[in-house]
């Protein structure tokens, strides 16, 4: 048996390096000064499972809390599940002999079930598989029937990704996945168990397949087999339904156009501060500013309601029971306090429209040919799906009450949110995928040159 106390006292020195290696920590390019355990608990003694909230303090003085489940086993015989999981190994402690391996318990089939039972003690499961490649959380699928989402970055208070689907489901909106069980501590949401819908597909993947089919076939999008427009129209309806249900649940305020314009301006200023305006990523700052200024001048800005805040095609899955909206946490790069929890519903619409632009551009890029005919096809595809999505959204009964009454004002506001999203994308791409920066730049250029839709 491993002495838990002896291990726990060593964790603050072991964890900084471990955290820096994790994709979900967002700490790979930052310096962790130190780590302290806010609280810890021994969930099971053998094999040892420690559950803890670790607070990392960064070089710039910021702090971030991370939820960790750590397993520890005798190092003489490394269990098979740990083979090839170097990133998940926290440390190999040689002394005292025979030594101990400390690892992320979510790679351990037995301990994963112990974690599940913290959330839902009564659930009986046989099989589990982790979902790889997640940005800010860790998820595990049990028996292809349930999915446990463990929040890694923990912030005080309720997590909107738990709260919003729960409230929406209670109100009869069925395009969310309600909680089967939740894990809380000190008022924080730490994990949520939901139904896993077998055979579901991300909207991004379906739209990608549609673009691929378009480029391979060379036919106009409406004649191309994998036409996405029917689903785009459905998605518009799903989103409008979500906004109506959210307005109903959390109330409706008159839209504050001045504040929205200020937020957009601040976002733009951050971008301008960070880049070389004369360089290849030339940004028409004045023209953008002018569009944002129009927002401040709106006579009728529509409503301000609680919104999704980070809607794009990967946050929507198609299931046998229709489309479902996921991930209500907001833009992961922003702290929860800085995310747009309330705004015009058009901010979400703009997010999806930007996503449609991306999917076409990425598809064209992957196709590897830039001839004009193919570009034109992709533009047609985007226009068709934009139109369908907006038709589904604006055609939903009651949604008009949340939007500027005049079409021209509505379109101006939507275009400004698209611009704002594209500005955010430029910042993101410059930091992460510079080869993609032309996509949001094209989006910006289109709008400020009054081309509007592609």
């Amino acid at each position: 048996m491993i002495d838990p106390d002896a291990l726990i006292v060593r964790l603050p020195e072991l964890l900084p390096e471990h955290l820096a290696r994790q994709r979900w920590s967002g700490a790979h390019d930052r310096t962790i000064e130190d780590v302290e355990l806010r609280w810890h608990e021994v969930v099971s003694p053998d094999p040892l499972l420690i559950w803890t909230l670790a607070r990392a303090r960064f070089g710039d003085g910021e702090v971030q809390d991370y939820q960790l489940f750590l397993g520890a086993r005798d190092a003489t015989a490394l269990p098979e599940f740990i083979q090839g999981k170097d990133r998940e190994i926290v440390a190999l402690i040689a002394e005292p002999a025979p030594g101990v391996v400390v690892y992320d318990a979510l790679v351990d089939p037995d301990l994963t079930i112990a974690v599940l039972h913290l959330v839902a003690p009564e659930v009986v499961v046989e099989h589990r598989r982790p979902i790889v490649l997640e940005h800010s959380n860790s998820s595990i699928v049990f028996d292809e029937a349930r999915i446990l989402k463990i929040f890694r970055k923990v912030e005080p208070g309720p997590n909107p990704d738990v709260e919003i689907p729960r409230v929406m489901a209670e109100r009869g909106y069925d395009h969310v996945l309600p909680s089967l069980a939740e894990l809380h501590r000190d008022g924080c949401d730490l994990a949520v168990l939901r139904e896993f819908l077998v055979g579901s597909t991300e909207g991004w993947e379906l739209a990608r397949a549609s673009v691929r089919d378009l480029l391979a076939g060379g036919l106009p999008p409406e004649e191309s087999g994998a036409d996405f427009a029917p689903d785009a129209e459905r998605l518009g309806g799903v989103l409008a339904g979500l906004h109506l249900a959210m307005a109903d649940a959390w109330g409706v305020e008159p839209g504050n156009a001045q504040r929205w314009a200020d937020e957009m301006g601040a976002n733009l200023a951050q971008l301008v501060a960070g880049i070389d305006r004369e360089g290849p990523a030339a940004i028409p700052v004045e023209a953008i500013d002018e569009r944002f200024a129009r927002v401040a001048d709106l006579r009728d800005a529509g409503a301000e309601i609680r919104i999704h805040g980070d809607l794009h095609l990967s946050q929507l899955i198609k299931t046998d029971a229709g489309w479902k909206v996921l991930d209500f946490e907001g833009e992961p790069a922003r702290r929860r306090s800085d995310r747009f929890t309330t705004s015009s519903p058009l901010r979400d619409v703009a997010g999806l429209l930007r996503s449609l632009h991306y999917v076409g551009a990425v598809g064209l890029g992957e196709w590897g040919a830039w001839d004009e005919d193919l570009q034109d096809l992709v533009s047609q595809w985007e226009r068709r799906n934009r139109t369908s999505l907006l038709a589904g959204y604006l055609g939903t009964d009651g949604i008009g009450a949340l939007l500027p009454a005049e079409d021209a004002e509505r379109d101006a506001l939507l275009a400004a949110f698209e611009l704002d999203k594209a500005v955010y994308e430029v910042i993101y791409e410059l930091g992460h995928r510079p080869e993609h920066v032309n996509i949001p730049l094209t989006g910006i250029r289109r709008i400020v040159q009054d081309e509007g839709a592609p």
Binding site: D143, G199, E222
Partner: protein, 572 residues
């Protein structure tokens, strides 16, 4: 004259049957073959196929491996509705032969291990039927209440007109009797009055007559409409279900092992009622929406249209089975689907000229698939592995085409193409005498597409279908096993398990015209070895990691999952 007398003598009790009379669940595992007597083989050289001709071709069907023939109506009829307008339930249309020919056909099929079911129209008769001729004379004759008569044409206005293109009303005035008669279909097909106990009994006598002759069951045409009630649309009424339970009881008590297959062109959640709450109505029902959803899935290159409809399909009672098909002699029409599905189909089809072109037109499988044989193989692989008993349509096993210029439904009812010779080997009559012209176009004509050529060519589509049939038939799990969709990251891949206590089969289908990779989540089956079922090649064992397969365009795999050490077969 050849074929004028049956070529085999029926001597009940002496014929060696290869049918197991104690097997009352055969239909759950069977592969059906829908055959048009008129179009299969002409033994009398009058230009029209006949029962003796079908008997002559039973060896071919046995070779192909089908388990049960489904015959379209062969009863006496003025043929104003393809024989669904029956003028005598107890006799055979003279062009097809006589009762003796029917008995020989049944006996010869049984000898070869094949069963035979036939269409039966319960709802109505031809207006030429003696019952109607008698009923219309006056209001007091013995058959006066055998049909549904009324003094005006206003009653039951809630009942929709099914054939809206040709029929203005469900009522037609009969000048002889001076009253209106009720008909849910054509005005020359008066509905029988099932509220009259004599009618209900008479139709049971019809059922008994054919089952006594050895027929293995019926496909019951247009069953939802037997009764009429005020304030209802006259469909799926409780009285109709009660009568079907009565028919079923006759079958169970007097003819165990015979089967009732309901044609109810309705949505799966409504159709299940025709199985009966405890499986005490029809043994089988058609699953209509699966077929158009399969076409949609391949068109969209994603599995969702298929998995959605299967998720919406309710469980059916023990001892029942769906009948599934790629094509049959009728078409899915938008009238038969729910509002939601109609919206779905319109949304999906409305802007797609290619798909819209085919709505409401009867096409055969190959023309619908642009003569793409890889795609036709994928469709058959899906048909033979999905939950239900597959029903093949005659000619599709050789990839026959259609003739849309014949209009209505005749385009898919052209003569079976046996050889490259005159009339495709269907008949020695003059070409001009054929009931419909045999196909002679350069792609699908009988010189290009025929049984003889494909039987000689071991890599033909016909041989491929036959081999697939053999694989399916040797694994009853395809008929009765559970159906479990697997999670696959690639939306173009439809993967599922068919499973029972004895076997687990993994089916993986690529709905895309491009090669596709796929990771399958199979850790539950870790340690088992997938053995590909056509070549028996073992694939790498399933491990803890997602199982990776690559698929050719429109490719598919059937894997038999085996636990190592339990493989059958001799060892050195």
């Amino acid at each position: 004259m050849p074929g004028s007398t049956p070529t085999a003598v029926c001597q009940p009790g002496t014929v060696h049957h290869r049918i197991d009379p104690t097997d009352t669940r055969w239909f759950q595992r069977a592969v059906f073959y829908e055959v048009l007597v008129r179009g299969f083989y002409d033994s009398t050289n009058d230009g029209t196929g006949d029962l003796q001709g079908l008997t002559d071709k039973l060896d071919y069907l046995e070779w192909l491996g089908v388990d049960c023939l489904w015959l379209l109506p062969f009863y006496d009829s003025p043929l104003r509705d393809g024989g669904y307008d029956i003028s005598d339930f107890f006799s055979v249309l003279p062009e097809y032969g006589d009762i003796a020919h029917a008995v020989v056909l049944i006996e010869e099929a049984h000898k070869r291990g094949m069963r035979v079911i036939a269409d039966m129209v319960m709802n109505h008769t031809s207006d030429q039927h003696p019952w109607f001729q008698e009923s219309r004379v006056d209001r007091t004759n013995p058959k006066a209440d055998w049909y549904v008569w009324g003094d005006d044409d206003q009653r039951w206005s809630e009942a929709r007109v099914i054939f809206v293109d040709t029929e203005p009303s469900n009522w037609t005035y009969d000048p002889v009797r001076g009253q209106y008669f009720w008909h849910r279909f054509f005005h020359h097909q008066p509905d029988l009055n099932y509220d009259n106990p004599q009618v209900a009994d008479a139709m049971l006598d019809v059922v008994r007559f054919w089952l006594d002759l050895g027929l293995d069951g019926f496909r019951l045409d247009a069953v939802p409409y037997l009764f009429e009630r005020d304030g209802t649309n006259g469909e799926n009424l409780p009285e109709t279900h009660e009568y079907l339970r009565r028919v079923r009881k006759v079958v169970d008590d007097e003819y165990p092992g015979r089967v009732l297959l309901a044609e109810a062109n309705q949505w799966p959640e409504d159709v299940v009622d025709y199985f009966g709450a405890s499986g005490d109505e029809c043994h089988m029902c058609f699953h209509f929406p699966l077929m158009p959803r399969m076409f949609m899935a391949v068109r969209r290159e994603q599995r969702h249209p298929v998995t959605e409809i299967l998720a919406q399909t309710p469980a059916i009672p023990e001892g029942c089975q769906w009948g599934i098909f790629l094509r049959n002699h009728d078409e899915l029409t938008l009238e038969m689907v729910t509002d939601e599905e109609r919206d779905y189909m319109y949304t999906e089809y409305a802007s797609d000229p290619r798909m819209r072109r085919n709505i409401g037109i009867s096409r055969r499988l190959f023309p619908l698939l642009d003569n793409n044989e890889d795609l036709a193989r994928l469709f058959h692989a899906m048909l033979f592995s999905m939950p239900g008993s597959p029903i093949l349509y005659y000619g599709d096993e050789i990839g026959m085409g259609d003739n849309i210029f014949l209009g209505d439904r005749d385009g898919v009812r052209t003569p079976m193409q046996w050889t490259p010779d005159r009339n495709g080997g269907f008949s020695n009559a003059d070409f001009a005498q054929l009931y419909l012209p045999a196909l002679m176009d350069p792609v699908y004509g009988f010189q290009a597409i025929n049984v003889e050529q494909q039987q000689r060519d071991p890599s033909s589509f016909l041989h491929w279908v036959r081999r697939l049939l053999q694989v399916r038939k040797s694994h009853p799990v395809f008929g009765t096993g559970s159906f479990e969709v697997l999670h696959a990251d690639n939306p173009a891949v439809l993967a599922f398990l068919r499973r029972d206590e004895t076997a687990t089969i993994l089916c993986v289908n690529n709905l895309s015209r491009f090669p596709q990779p796929c990771e399958l989540m199979l850790e539950e089956l870790a340690g088992q070895v997938p053995v590909e079922m056509s070549g028996r090649v073992p694939f790498p064992p399933i491990g803890e990691l997602p199982y990776f397969v690559t698929l050719a365009p429109h490719g598919f795999y059937w894997f038999n999952l085996q636990v190592p050490g339990e493989e059958s077969g001799p060892r050195p």
